[in-house]
Symmetry: C2
Subunit: 151 residues, 2 copies
């Protein structure tokens, strides 16, 4: 049984060295407006999110850093699939584990108020599966994101 109920991606998070500098680049040079700049810089790309996060924090969240990933091959980005409930996150991980997929972080209550885990694809690309109670999901899978600052 397929792990994901819908064919979509909810978030692309890029690991960055200097988040302020990267936020300026994506805002001022490329012209994107963030809806959030607190902890992670986030842009609404039309019902999906582009995020900028300090690389070390991203790697810690993915559970692959230091001596747990090969030197030079620690993740510098992550994709996310947002589920519609905590139960759906658990169902997805149950299917992934039944298929022998490598789980990097088992689903757990996250500090930001949601419920999240990570797995990796055959090349080590990281996927988060999360339930975010603050971001409703439309029927077609788009995120209904909060309207935030327009700096």
């Amino acid at each position: 049984m397929a792990a994901f109920p819908q064919q979509r991606v909810s978030i692309i998070t890029l690991g960055v060295t200097d988040r302020e500098a990267s936020t300026r680049f994506y805002s001022d040079v490329l012209g994107f407006t963030p809806f959030m700049r607190d902890e992670i810089t986030m842009f609404d790309m039309g019902g999906m999110v582009l995020g900028l996060w300090e690389r070390g924090k991203l790697q810690a969240d993915v559970g692959l850093m230091g001596n747990t990933c090969p030197p030079g091959a620690c993740p510098n980005f992550a994709l996310a699939y947002n589920a519609r409930s905590e139960a759906e996150v658990d169902e997805i991980f149950a299917r992934l584990m039944a298929e022998g997929v490598k789980v990097a972080v088992e689903p757990h209550k996250a500090s930001w108020g949601g419920y999240s885990g990570y797995f990796v694809d055959p090349d080590g690309h990281a996927w988060e599966v999360a339930f975010n109670p603050y971001w409703p999901i439309s029927e077609d899978g788009k995120l209904d994101l909060p309207v935030g600052e327009k700096t």
Copy 2:
């Protein structure tokens, strides 16, 4: 002046080691249906594309491989912004270059029939800006992708 006319991302391409194995993972385990498996495996994620491409081919396309990128830091994924015309690609690169952005590959006629170039963000994350005459773009920026095989 902002480089991108719209706030969106058209394609996420992941560099992979064994494209057949990765295609099976994304199809059979995750449950995604590709609309193309020729040269690059592509999935329609709702008006945007998730692509799987051999890492060496991706790095060659991005113009950053071998001794042109730091060991262990060659790109293993790329984002793309699809423009509405070749002229728009040129306008975007003109704005990027006016801002001093590092251009990895100048816009040129691509072998697949489109027009494409690459720049990198402050962390070296690669962005393609391309005009693809086979993929119309709706007013809201979504790609109108061809219906392909449903294997």
